[in-house]
């Protein structure tokens, strides 16, 4: 199992940023998600976030909403998410689950953390869990030996950043802009400042996500962040493809472009 710590250590040694790719479980199909994530890893993703499809994804833009909706229509369950993690972890990428809090809460925090660890997962990203509510999840994750990644945003004052990094292990997720997921024309201008402010409070790696979708943008972010997170752009390739083989090829191509981006510091 590849840990987040080893991923960032390796990236640092190679003087580059790590590449983090996101894909929801069960999209485009149960096995198709594993195949797509595998292609992403083969083409240069160091970390894969497997999204746990949720009925009310209020941090997500139209692209991820669409993919998640299809996944739920495919009947994706938490067991499928764990199965996906297992498949992806075998590729050697550090594999996380990105999930809204309610499915974990209902599944049971301890049980979720344990099952994720057994599947080879190394942690979670929880976009609607803030430090005030994160206590039980941090305890369950620590007990199971998995990392907990939380978010900060350009709106976060220094006191909030300080309290968020308190519960963060693995890395800190810095949202590049105020908004929801989705590829954008440009990466938010606030991202660099946020990363700088975050570093004043923590020595754990800081990754930047939201709005990144091209090699050039990845390079721009890699100049100041430890990792570059890309989600919607991968999903867009799969949504636009006429069939799965074309989609996989497009995903591989994008990952290759992004992998070059994070290496052009």
């Amino acid at each position: 199992m590849t840990t987040l710590a080893s991923v960032f250590e390796k990236a640092r040694a190679e003087n580059r940023a790590a590449l983090v790719g996101y894909l929801p479980a069960g999209f485009p199909t149960k096995e198709g998600a594993i195949a797509a994530a595998t292609a992403m890893v083969e083409a240069g993703c160091d970390v894969i976030e497997i999204g746990l499809p949720y009925s009310d994804p209020l941090m997500d833009g139209p692209t991820i909403q669409d993919a998640v909706h299809r996944s739920l229509l495919n009947g994706t369950r938490i067991a499928d998410v764990m199965h996906t993690v297992e498949g992806v972890a075998k590729t050697g990428a550090a594999t996380l689950v990105m999930t809204y809090w309610n499915p974990v809460y209902i599944y049971g925090a301890e049980r979720f953390a344990r099952d994720l660890a057994s599947a080879g997962g190394v942690g979670t990203i929880t976009p609607d869990l803030i430090p005030e509510e994160a206590g039980p999840w941090c305890a369950a994750s620590a007990a199971a030996g998995i990392d907990t990644v939380f978010l900060v945003a350009p709106s976060s004052p220094d006191e909030r950043i300080a309290s968020v990094v308190e519960c963060c292990t693995g890395f800190l997720y810095a949202a590049s802009l105020m908004g929801i997921t989705g590829a954008r024309e440009s990466v938010g201008s606030a991202a660099e400042g946020l990363v700088k402010r975050s570093r004043a409070h923590t020595s754990i790696p800081v990754c930047v996500g939201l709005g990144v979708g091209t090699g050039a943008q990845a390079a721009e972010v890699a100049a100041y962040a430890d990792g570059v997170i890309v989600g919607s752009a991968f999903i867009r390739r799969l949504l636009d493809a006429p069939d799965e083989a074309t989609g996989l090829a497009a995903v591989r191509e994008l990952a290759t472009e992004l992998a070059a981006g994070v290496r052009s510091r």
């Binding site: 009310d56 309610n102 209902i106 709106s155």
Partner: protein, 407 residues
């Protein structure tokens, strides 16, 4: 003049949430970190405003000279014959400007918006009453206004869509998910996290992340404060029961709250039973839901065994919501309030009955409270005094009624 105690109740009475916005185990904040500073700012502004005489004066002035407060009580003896002869007294929120209790909360929050220096207001709406009230307040105070409304609701409350547009608001139909209130709230949150620097999210019910449940309750609290005084004057004693319909819970908590300390006054909330519990098509969140997190708050939720929200159903757009405010979850858990379901058919029967017996056409939402009260009256008997929150008027529902009754 509205006092600080009228607005916020008795501080320290044990019914305010803790600093994290928790009522017992319910409430809290389950939101993107990006929104926390905005929620903190709203909470801080409200904390200052609620004891600021200038704010109280402004709010009081708008309630009296614009919203039409105090609203009257109407006793309905012909209707009450169906309810075992109990004395039934309606609190007439339907007579407020814009026609529902929503205006109280909206005026309060619109004043907060002004104080915070925000220029744009967004809101979700189900029945359209909160949207109309918000569009109205924005017109009055010169604020830009965008209303999110599920496509299904736009259709069944078309009159209110037209009203909002006339009032200068932009109405954005929401086409995802169940295309009702739940999805309108998701979309409003997405807008807010994108535009939070100049935008205020004027939340429409006593649910959502802290501090909304407390703020919305306090701005709706005037309903119960007035009604308690008025019933004492009219009947010479407190009512045996206070009833209201429960969607997200604002009109119910608005009338309940002033009575929470009156241990002999029973509190009944009526949820939308849709086609009935067994049909699976209902909005019986407190009656049949389980504890989970939805829209930023830990509360009762209609959800499956893995925490996916189950779509609700109700003939009434304003009650068609799979979540509920955390204070109601707490009042249920502590046993202080009782929650029951009322089906579409029962609500529509009560809707027609009030029209025929008393010449008042209620909102279909409020008709759930009326239908529940009919049953309750039969249980409590002719000596009972029941105060009902008639949360809104039925003009907006005439399309639904025409179809339902073949008018």
């Amino acid at each position: 003049m509205l006092t600080a105690a009228d607005l916020a109740g008795n501080a320290g009475a044990g019914d305010d949430p803790d600093p994290f916005g928790r009522f017992g185990e319910f409430g809290g904040r389950f939101v993107p970190e990006a929104l926390v500073p905005a929620l903190d700012e709203v909470a801080a502004q409200y904390a200052k405003a609620k004891s600021d005489p200038e704010f109280l004066r402004e709010f009081d002035h708008l309630l009296r000279t614009y919203a039409g407060r105090p609203t009257i009580l109407t006793e309905v003896p012909r209707f009450a014959k169906e309810a075992g002869g109990a004395r039934i007294i309606l609190k007439r929120e339907d007579l407020t400007h814009t026609g529902a209790h929503k205006i109280n909360n909206v005026l309060g929050q619109a004043l907060l918006t002004k104080r915070m220096g925000k220029t744009r207001v967004i809101a979700e709406t189900g029945a359209g009453q909160h949207g109309v009230a918000t569009a109205t307040a924005c017109a009055l105070l010169g604020l830009d206004c965008v209303i999110y409304m599920g496509e299904v609701d736009c259709e069944r409350q078309a009159l209110n869509v037209a009203r909002m547009k006339l009032l200068g608001a932009e109405v954005v139909p929401v086409a995802n998910g169940s295309r009702t209130l739940k999805d309108a709230i998701n979309e409003a949150f997405r807008d807010w996290v994108t535009n939070v620097d100049h935008t205020y999210y004027l939340f429409g019910t006593a649910a959502g992340p802290h501090p909304f449940p407390e703020i919305v309750r306090d701005f709706a609290r005037i309903i119960g404060v007035e009604a308690r005084r008025q019933v004492l004057e009219l009947v010479g004693r407190l009512p045996d029961a206070v009833t209201a319909c429960v969607g997200g819970g604002s009109n119910a908590i608005g009338i309940f709250h002033a009575f929470v300390g009156d241990k002999d006054v029973a509190l009944y909330g009526f949820e939308a039973g849709g086609h009935g519990l067994e049909s699976g098509e209902h909005a019986l969140t407190l009656t049949a839901g389980t504890i989970g997190v939805l829209h930023g708050s830990r509360t009762f939720v209609l959800q499956d065994d893995e925490g996916q929200t189950i779509e609700s159903h109700s003939i009434s757009a304003g009650l068609d919501y799979p979540g509920v405010g955390p204070e109601h979850a707490w009042l249920k858990e502590t046993g202080r309030a009782t929650y029951r379901g009322v089906t579409d058919a029962e609500a529509m029967e009560a809707f027609a009955l009030l029209a025929r017996t008393e010449g008042i056409i209620p909102a279909i939402e409020s008709s759930h409270a009326l239908a529940g009260t009919i049953k309750l009256g039969r249980e409590l008997g002719p000596e009972a005094v029941i105060l009902v929150n008639l949360s809104g008027r039925g003009d907006k529902d005439m399309g639904t009624a025409m179809k339902y009754f073949n008018l």
